[in-house]
Symmetry: C2
Subunit: 244 residues, 2 copies
């Protein structure tokens, strides 16, 4: 599996230099790629992320990789240890508690605003997201379902109109996904699959307080579904994980 998978961008001459959209989008794509891989647990907590290995896989230099790793570290999906490199964050029980307490405070607090601002169109969009999530769960893709569930919560927060709080929720949700991926039960998402649909119902009718209470129970249910046990570590095969 040495080089068969790396596409022709390996050493593309001037001809294809422009192929990578704008360098900026390329970086963003790589960022999302790694972020998704972590959240979907294809990169497991504790896994080391060597810079030149990633640089090889994505065909950019370590400079760009370092930038991406620093961004991931700021969102606490990866842990940066000085002189010893990056690894996928292994969330602790304390962190899990902090994250879910924060979600209680923020996401519940946003529900009245969301209920006030929600329109037909957005409700439909949310229902579609909930549908995809159910489907992923039915087809056994638990990790994907976890990520889709997080996307749902983030979209909801964005509908509040407060970009700052929405960004906080985004960070909390990606950390939650990591927590769920580690401490969650197999076959039990935490979110009951109909929960999100029920929530949309309350929001559609403008019942902010009802939605707030429901969100609170919903988050409590997710947190309660966690079981804290330790994971083993192993060396990830980056080629396989990111290979296309």
């Amino acid at each position: 599996m040495s080089d068969a998978q790396a596409p022709e961008k390996r050493r593309a001459p001037a001809k294809e230099v422009k192929n990578s959209k704008e360098g900026d989008e390329r970086h963003d794509a790589i960022y999302r790629s790694v972020s998704d891989a972590i959240v979907e647990q294809r990169l497991k907590p504790g896994a080391r992320l060597r810079e030149d290995a990633l640089a090889d896989v994505f065909g950019i230099s370590r400079t760009g990789i370092r930038k991406i790793l620093q961004r991931l570290a700021l969102e606490q999906l990866v842990t940066l240890t000085p002189r010893r490199g990056a690894s996928v964050t292994r969330p602790t029980a304390d962190e899990a508690k902090d994250v879910f307490d924060a979600r209680q405070l923020i996401e519940c607090g946003l529900m009245p605003d969301v209920a006030r601002r929600m329109s037909e169109k957005e409700a439909a969009e949310l229902r579609e997201m909930a549908r995809q999530e159910r489907q992923a769960l039915r087809s056994g893709q638990q990790s994907v379902a976890i990520r889709l569930s997080a996307d749902f919560h983030v979209r909801l927060a964005q509908l509040s109109g407060n970009a700052t709080l929405a960004e906080f929720v985004e960070r909390l949700c990606s950390r939650s996904s990591l927590i769920l991926a580690v401490y969650g039960h197999r076959g039990h998402l935490g979110c009951e699959s109909h929960d999100h649909d029920d929530l949309i119902g309350y929001l559609e009718t403008g019942n902010g307080e009802r939605a707030r209470a429901f969100m609170s129970r919903h988050l409590k249910a997710i947190e309660a579904s966690l079981s804290m046990f330790e994971e083993e570590e192993n060396v990830p095969d980056l080629q396989q994980i990111f290979g296309e």
Copy 2:
């Protein structure tokens, strides 16, 4: 014409500090130095931050400067425009509203926890911070006072025991400082200087609900003290300015 001001004035270019400090701490010191300069408005909103210039001033290469700028950008103290470099963020009215709404939700929500966990020692520490803040205000150092006030709010949030929410508050406070520096009235800090002492009183007696309500009024007062006039267009109307 009015050039962007020179960043961070330093008299002695050659410093002994460089060798003794670990590179990591050095970076952090530079980060704080720039962050403080922005929050205290020695670097004004809109000011360009050229990489070479900063590299010269601090005696490290552009690599390190870029890393620091990216971190500042993530905290939204600095705005990074692709291919056009970094500049001090110019907060908008919408952002100000988002930030203060977020503070209402989070800081008020934390008060009961803080009240529950606060001890003698921490109360004393907070009183000392409040004292320094008053002193800075009395001696006319408004910008310094703004930063010290932010420090107070951050320390308070840390006492809640939730590191995640405390970090959010930290970010909100530094952005608030920038907002205050831009939209605040001279000689009016927003925070009445005795407010913080009153708050400590409520917390000391474990009266979380009282503290929450007080914090809410406190933040509303700060926000109300802002004079939100929209900024000039990117192209100023010279006709109007120099007319007649």
